[in-house]
């Protein structure tokens, strides 16, 4: 393992503090005041075991990094549902593998609709300014409460709505005709929930998944009970007692809690003994390199016209090979479960929990 154990970390900080007594006072003050999100991220960068690059992916996506952390939640994807569960669990730092705001760019307001990051997306009440200049719209209790709606009359008390749809009050930006379109209600609702609960969201994907072994493979094998069957140190290959491709897919579905996201290619009745993992999102060269050496691949996400149709062609030719896609978000979950265990070793001050986002997909009847 490349990370530093908890004991090792304590020893390192103790040594550092002893060498610089001035900093010791500072450290003690901070310890009594609690650990901030920024301090936790600094420890992650220092201990993760891969060189930290200055990319724009593994960064803070929401909240104030100086926030004192009450608890940490790791997750496959920081959906609003996960954020709500984090709050219920008393945590205010969420470490997510997937984006928070629906794109790699992770902008907290939708691009292309006149709501750039500085354009007033965050906290903007849904429906605000809908009526245009000079005609204050009647506040719609379904979407709006509090100041900032343009209504001049005193507002009635907020209706008992889920807190996530009630954005904090903010005066609207100086009205400049023409009025912008209404803010996207989903961005607004998520931003409002984050602000109300003073959450901090940090994305940890590119660096975490560059660790060896791949935490997604390591976590998937642990969840499936395959660790004792591993063939090789990279945790990507397993030699199991034989089972059919159909039972393998069924076991994955049951154990990983997938719903509609898991899909398979190949003869359902074929026997699978060797399994290869392709965590995350992979392209065709990875499948071509692996499939000949195993009976079946268990992949995160692939493009259909690449690895999936390759497997389809192989199966059509009568070659007994299987291919299973469990989905990218489902595949990130076991990696972030491993991450929670690792974070506990470097953040001993607060509880660290793993909350999965689940399988985004369901299947119609």
């Amino acid at each position: 393992m490349t990370h530093i154990s908890r004991r090792g970390f304590v020893a390192l900080t103790a040594a550092g503090a002893a060498a610089t007594p001035f900093l010791l006072d500072d450290a003690l003050t901070r310890a009594s005041a609690g650990v901030t999100a920024q301090e936790i991220v600094d420890r992650v960068k220092k201990n993760i075991g891969v060189e930290w690059s200055s990319d724009d992916v593994d960064t803070f996506k929401a909240g104030d990094p100086s926030t004192i952390v009450t608890g940490v939640v790791t997750t496959s994807m920081a959906t609003l549902d996960v954020l709500q569960k984090a709050v219920q669990a008393g945590a205010n730092l969420v470490v997510t593998a997937a984006p928070t705001f629906y794109s790699r760019a992770d902008l907290s307001a939708p691009a292309g609709r006149g709501f750039g990051p500085g354009g007033g997306g965050r906290g903007q009440p849904p429906g605000g300014n809908r009526g245009g200049a000079g005609s204050a719209p009647p506040p719609s209790p379904a979407t709006v409460s509090g100041p900032g709606t343009g209504a001049s009359a005193p507002m009635p008390p907020a209706p008992p709505l889920p807190p996530s749809v009630v954005p904090p009050g903010q005066p609207p930006a100086a009205a400049a005709p023409p009025a912008p379109p209404p803010p996207d209600p989903v961005y607004a609702g998520k931003n409002a929930f984050i602000e109300k609960h003073k959450l901090v969201v940090f994305r940890l994907a590119y660096h975490w998944n560059r660790r060896t072994p791949d935490p997604r493979a390591q976590g998937l094998a642990a969840a499936m009970g395959w660790t004792r069957y591993k063939a090789g140190e990279d945790m990507l290959r397993y030699e199991l007692p034989g089972l059919t491709l159909e039972s393998l897919a069924g076991q994955l579905k049951k154990t990983l809690g997938t719903r509609g996201g898991i899909r398979a290619v190949g003869d359902r009745g074929m026997t699978v003994r060797t399994i290869g993992l392709l965590p995350g999102y992979t392209m065709i060269p990875a499948a071509i390199a692996m499939l000949p050496t195993v009976d079946a691949i268990v992949a995160g996400e692939v493009q259909e016209w690449e690895s999936a149709t390759y497997a389809q062609d192989v199966a059509f030719a009568g070659v007994k090979k299987g291919f299973i896609s469990i989905g990218r978000v489902v595949n990130e979950a076991p990696g972030m479960q491993v991450c929670a265990g690792w974070l506990r070793t470097i953040v001993p001050e607060v509880p660290v929990r793993f909350i999965p986002a689940g399988d985004p997909y369901w299947r119609p009847l």
């Binding site: 609003l80 997937a98 691009a111 996207d184 999102y281 493009q303 690449e306 986002a357």
Partner: protein, 270 residues
């Protein structure tokens, strides 16, 4: 009478497209011969979603040796055979089959998407049972249907398509009526304010320019009625290859032109 060659067929496609307002772009890397060449004598034409081994074999069984797929033949978009040649399992078998059966493959992708209507969209709309009369404007790919729930709409789509591996995101009880149709990777953004549900082909789950799954999950949490029905890349573009066969038939009257399905990609575990 001289035999019809693949080159003749391609020249006719180019000239009819030009007449219909789609000038041929020779710089395309997609719409080219992928196996065989212009001299190959054509016994019949099969349009299909992708040059899968299954599509090629089924076409050959029917006496059709010219394959016109919408997508690639060698499992990568540029049809780079160096990538495919690394595979010891099926590549050689597939190429040998094509050689033995005098197959010629010519891909039609970029130009097909420039046609109006774009058959990949209109074919999908037809196959998922959307009434063309309910399209909001010609080629808008937007339909207004009688209000229903996401669950009912998804079940209907699955029933008429007959495929298992359909995936849906969103609250099954969400009330929806404004539908946007996508094809292939061209999935309309589900956050458009005037769209309730997107029926589309394929999209990266995360890390795209817009990640629909998470957005629709959050919409469901907030009670915003949104839905996303993902029928798959194959399933979304196969349909339009029927329209492409219908379009080709009158311009190559000498031979049979048929739509041959590229086959089901995925099955789903119980």
């Amino acid at each position: 009478m001289a035999a019809l060659t693949a080159g003749d067929v391609v020249n006719r496609i180019k000239s009819v497209m030009a007449v219909q307002g789609v000038a041929w772009n020779d710089a395309t890397t997609r719409d080219r011969f992928k196996f065989g060449g212009p001299e190959t004598v054509v016994t019949g034409i099969a349009t299909t979603f992708m040059g899968t081994f299954e599509a090629i074999a089924r076409a050959s069984e029917r006496g059709l040796n010219m394959i016109i797929p919408h997508e690639d033949t060698y499992w990568n978009d540029p049809d780079n055979t160096l990538i495919a040649e690394a595979d010891p399992l099926v590549y050689r078998t597939k190429v040998d089959f094509m050689t033995r059966h005098d197959i010629v493959v010519f891909r039609i992708h970029d130009h097909m998407h420039r046609q109006r209507p774009d058959f990949t969209f209109s074919g999908t709309a037809r196959e998922v049972g959307l009434d063309p009369a309910t399209e909001t404007a010609p080629n808008s790919h937007r339909f207004v249907i009688p209000e229903t729930t996401l669950g009912e709409l998804a079940a209907r789509v699955k029933r008429v398509r007959g495929d298992d591996a359909i995936r849906v995101v969103g609250d099954p009880n969400a009330r929806v009526k404004r539908v946007a149709v996508g094809a292939g990777m061209a999935t309309p953004a589900v956050n458009a304010p005037d769209v309730d549900v997107v029926i589309g082909g394929e999209q990266r789950e995360i890390e795209g320019t817009f990640d629909s799954p998470e957005y629709v999950m959050d919409a469901a949490t907030l009670g915003v009625p949104k839905g996303w029905i993902i029928i798959g890349h194959n399933m979304s573009e196969e349909s339009g290859m029927q329209e492409m066969a219908d379009w080709l038939r009158p311009i190559v009257p000498e031979v049979k032109v048929q739509h041959v399905r590229a086959g089901t990609v995925y099955w789903v575990p119980k």
